[in-house]
Symmetry: D2
Subunit: 388 residues, 4 copies
């Protein structure tokens, strides 16, 4: 008999996790980017790889694009390509950190020419959203400074608001602007959107379709991330997750790999706040597979999210409420831990088989020959990476 | 010729730093509280000690009280006592962490009886404010939980807002509510107001006279505190500072002792944002002199704030703007560092002498015999500490 | 069929975790120590409580004492009392942080009279070890300073070595000296033994029977603790563990509560390095049950260690070696995670029943009436805490 | 009258700080490396730039090389080139992080072929040392793993020791091996030499001419670095410094830029332990000028070290000892702070002029036209960066 009830399975059935196209390209550290055979050379190949993840998991029906890395001449063609492979195009991510002009800022820059260019880049991204049918424009602001005194943080904050307003004004229909925050890197003294509070006050000043993006790797050491999840859901401003995990800084490891219990707590709070399967909250991965294989790395990642969601759904809410009300610290904690420690993997394997999927997606992918095929096929050209 | 211009001196002239009454009582760690001869035994003696700090520095014209530690039967008498000694009564600090009832919460508690008691305690604090003429009610919320699952963080957040609204509604005239945030301790899993964002959204929902208190020791490792100062000033919500310094956690060391350059950057941002000598921003100390003498510890502290303010006032804003606009990173940083590295101590000593104060307040206090006097006089009774 | 093989169960059978007597007394933060009915008032009652933990788990056959908190006039009587209750007396912990003389140091103090007193205290502890039959003298050095310049760190390090040599020289037979390190607290600038490196070089200079104690809560944020476990085992210098867990600083929460996966990794490295059931490595708890019930808090703790040890024993070493040799990052990680995610609790419950214990120790203790009994019996007197 | 006595000036006169050749090439983050006009294209041009720093400061008489980035066909020619420009060739730095073979380790690798290659690379570095006359071989071990289970940390530690022994055995005469440690990056789960303790036990097992390298940016948040300086000097194992500064991780900012007081404390401890101007301790920079000009960035850096050394030399040791012995916390701290707050810049400017140097090296370099010259001359070719 399964540990997972039909009710829980019907919730899990709806779970959808968006994959980032760039996870299939090469990535690395400032010290070295290792290449691997079979790495995609263009957005079409990236999407083909992403479709493999969905094929074996039924968890990843859409792919986020990054502009300009994923620029193509014909987005309708790209969309068609994706749909043919069973996935959709998702969030459009802008890039204001790789152009020489942006060395000292983009949406916050004091030079109006450069700021104009950065705003226009976002307007172009919205044009692409119109073409791809994407709902969300995600802005990660890599801007900041390396030395005290280098910049006027206050003026930058005001210019940021002005830039965002111009971008927000261009959105139509269901389109949204999602603003990511990050503790540090690539700037090492100040970052213009370093914490959820700053992201919140910036998007709250824009309007209803502006939301916060929470990247699980973008916090100071020790930060209680599930608290922030709770608060943003309470404020109606949690727009999306960028899932990954970390031991130190923005390590961008596989979600759940560094601290599975933290992922469980985050998902427990998502459920508590009504964020699971809510149209308001987009669940995405944002990871770097620097040394491990990329496609199975993504498969492992979506499975981790699914397994932790299943565990979080097992929390006995009624018993938990009772223990909390009785101030029974040990009992309340035990109820949570009981859900976390329950092994849901056999039940999820069963569920996959009931849907015609392989019980073990990692093994099924490995046995499929896809890896060998792309290694053989993708010869020549330039492997995709963070520059392309 | 002085390094400090008349303009700068006239700004410094107005600087006022509030002292916490509890800094003059004993404090320590969970491992040990060391006692010292001469420690005050009641609020009257604490205020007498605080007045010594003002006497030698002209920087500390008011004293914050902590209720119930500083409860007296007649606040008019306490006020008169303070005024006779040349100081005023300042901020009233509430306490919801030392009553057995508050073991699992106070303003956030699910038990309405306990929550009512905590709210009533704050209403009593406002009664005291009416009697003392204090403007600010400062709430540090020690509430939280130690184990995942122990509490429903979301429901607590909602109850907190309700409690604060009831308290806020009782304020009259110029009175304000100031809500402090703290990263952790005494709770070790979640804290109900752990960051500036939470404090901000809680007070923003109350109204104009609700503000955020920034304690410089209450952040995650690596947090850029001057950025938060900038942001809160930008939002018009920086109500007060609790100054202290830290190497690790909430160490409550003498302000400026651990990282003087950080204090300089904070004060530079205060000036940039119009917070210096602004009626909106109260400057307070909140420190523990666990092993050093308390009165000279406070003298050293207010001098540190003054010296760093003087350095921050030396920043050549015009040159800084020019270097920033030119993207000249090294020049902009050098302009800031030049102010920081300038030794303002001789000029401040001169300035003190011109006002009839001793050039060296530490030496003057040491020579005054006050320390020996209180050690001889204050025999018997119970030394004040965090319990009284 | 059980997830745990007979081989694994026979290893688990030998597991022994020492309890700290002080865990049964009151503890808290610098802000408040909450009292609870039934708290022991003397070492005899503490041992009685500790024996309850062993009774329901068969995991905790010994109790560590803290001198002077657990001083008695007749240690033979205390030993007999313990043995009658089915437990032994274990490690002797010294205390150089609660005497007024030790405000500025003890084994490191520049005042030879105070340093002599501190050394003599340790010699007295060894006398007690002779009486109790304890093997280990554990020294946690709370010494350090709060302000740069306050102390000469180098001279203190040399005096520490001299003090330890005098203490070490007094040991006889199988007796050992175990030196604990701690990142910070109660000192907030420098701590005389802040890291494993310092503890190692200090004990390495003493001799074979001097070892390092690793407290899992005593590291800087982000520290890879299992790496230190590996290194100390490699060097033959891991003498003991103080188990607890933390989200922020030295939170002293229940072991495994904050990051169960970290506990799993630590135990995996213990097994890898031959430290499990080794006579060289003592496994102890060192926790504070500030808000939860103490006896069930300790029961939960030893169960957590047992459960994680069982999971760690499940790691398929052969498969892991093969994956590591093949540089198959995802496969190697999956083998580890598979062990971690396996639910060993049913098998451990079975095993307990096979030994005549209750399947659920927490429930069995709760149903025993012991808690109600001590609450009724232990009226009057002074509850034990960190001062007694 | 100068703040710096002739005695202090004669100590400062001997100060020498080694520059890293790679500081003059381009560097950046994983997100972007910005290029600048005039960037050197080969080791000869790097050395020419380094010579500029020495020319204006008389502080930087040698240049460290990085192999293979600075490989040339004729090291005698490179040496001659350097000497003609008034500088010497210094430490040789090896590189085991940029070859595809080293993806999973080098000196620690389980594959003996790869490990052999890594050892041979170091033997080649020693050949180069023979040719350049360099004393020190510095090894920064970028090795580690990203996921728990990926590697057998213990076996790697043993292999590392074996590899180092083979390298150490090749050293002759005065040559030394210096082993750097680093908290994390580029590995994100475990690093093979993550802390000073590991570096110490590895080099202590080698012999007298093996030492530890302390990079000031390679520690966990909150680490008391000056304590480590003290300990390594006490153990006779502080071989060299890599100076830089950081707010967050290994930010590699200009030394003294993030926390000047920390740099002061480090240099105070260097002096206390006899490390200043000692032949045992090499002082080097290791920084990245990602967004600021490189040559003036290095000039600013060596000036920062000099200024902080001067301040540290001002500490009144006799008064400090007296205050420490009297347990006068505030007085002892004040003596330290007095030295830190003294503005030594005018005296150092005078001293420079007395030696025929410009009072303001930054201004003198800017006025020299060198920057414009190299921007005009260095056209074509490939700018040096971390790959060349």
């Amino acid at each position: 008999m399964s540990t997972l009830t039909p009710d829980i399975l019907s919730v899990l059935e709806k779970q959808a996790i968006e994959l980032p196209s760039w996870a299939f390209g090469n990535s690395g550290t400032r010290f070295k980017v290792f290449a691997t055979p079979g790495t995609p050379r263009d957005p079409f190949e990236k999407i083909a790889d992403a479709a493999q993840v969905h094929r074996y998991t039924a968890l990843a029906p859409s792919v986020a694009l990054h502009i300009p890395w994923d620029k193509v001449s014909d987005y309708a063609e790209l969309r068609k390509h994706a749909e043919d492979l069973g996935v959709a195009l998702g969030t459009i991510n802008s890039n204001t950190f790789q152009d020489d002009d942006y060395k000292f800022g983009a949406l916050t820059h004091h030079d109006e020419t450069i700021r104009r260019k950065a705003i226009d880049h976002h307007l172009e991204c919205i044009d692409i959203m119109d073409a791809t049918g994407s709902r969300d424009l995600k802005i990660w602001l890599a801007e900041g400074s390396n030395y005290p005194g280098q910049n006027d943080m206050r003026a930058r904050q005001d210019r940021l608001q002005d830039s965002l307003q111009q971008i927000y004004a261009r959105l139509t229909g269901e389109q949204r602007l999602v603003l990511e925050y990050k503790f540090f890197e690539p700037s090492f003294y100040h970052t213009d959107v370093p914490d959820w509070g700053t992201s919140y006050v910036q998007v709250a000043a824009l309007g209803e379709r502006a939301m916060v993006c929470l990247d699980t790797g973008h916090h100071a050491p020790g930060t209680n991330i599930e608290f922030i999840v709770m608060q943003l859901l309470r404020l109606g401003k949690l727009g999306s997750f960028d899932f990954n995990s970390r031991f130190y800084a923005d390590d961008d490891l596989i979600v759940g790999a560094a601290d599975p219990f933290q992922l469980f707590r985050i998902l427990t709070e998502v459920i508590r706040g009504g964020g699971l399967n809510s149209p308001d909250v987009a669940f995405m991965l944002d990871q770097c597979h620097n040394i491990e294989d990329k496609i199975p790395g993504q498969i492992r990642s979506v499975l981790n999210v699914q397994e932790m969601t299943a565990r979080a759904l097992l929390v006995d809410r009624e018993a938990l409420d009772a223990a909390q009300t009785a101030n029974d610290v040990l009992a309340a904690n035990a109820i949570l831990m009981d859900a976390f420690y329950t092994d849901v993997r056999p039940a999820l394997a069963e569920w996959r088989e009931s849907r015609g999927l392989a019980a073990d997606p990692m093994a099924a992918y490995a046995a499929s020959g896809y890896r060998e095929q792309i290694a053989a096929d993708r010869v020549g050209g330039t492997q995709a990476g963070w520059g392309a």
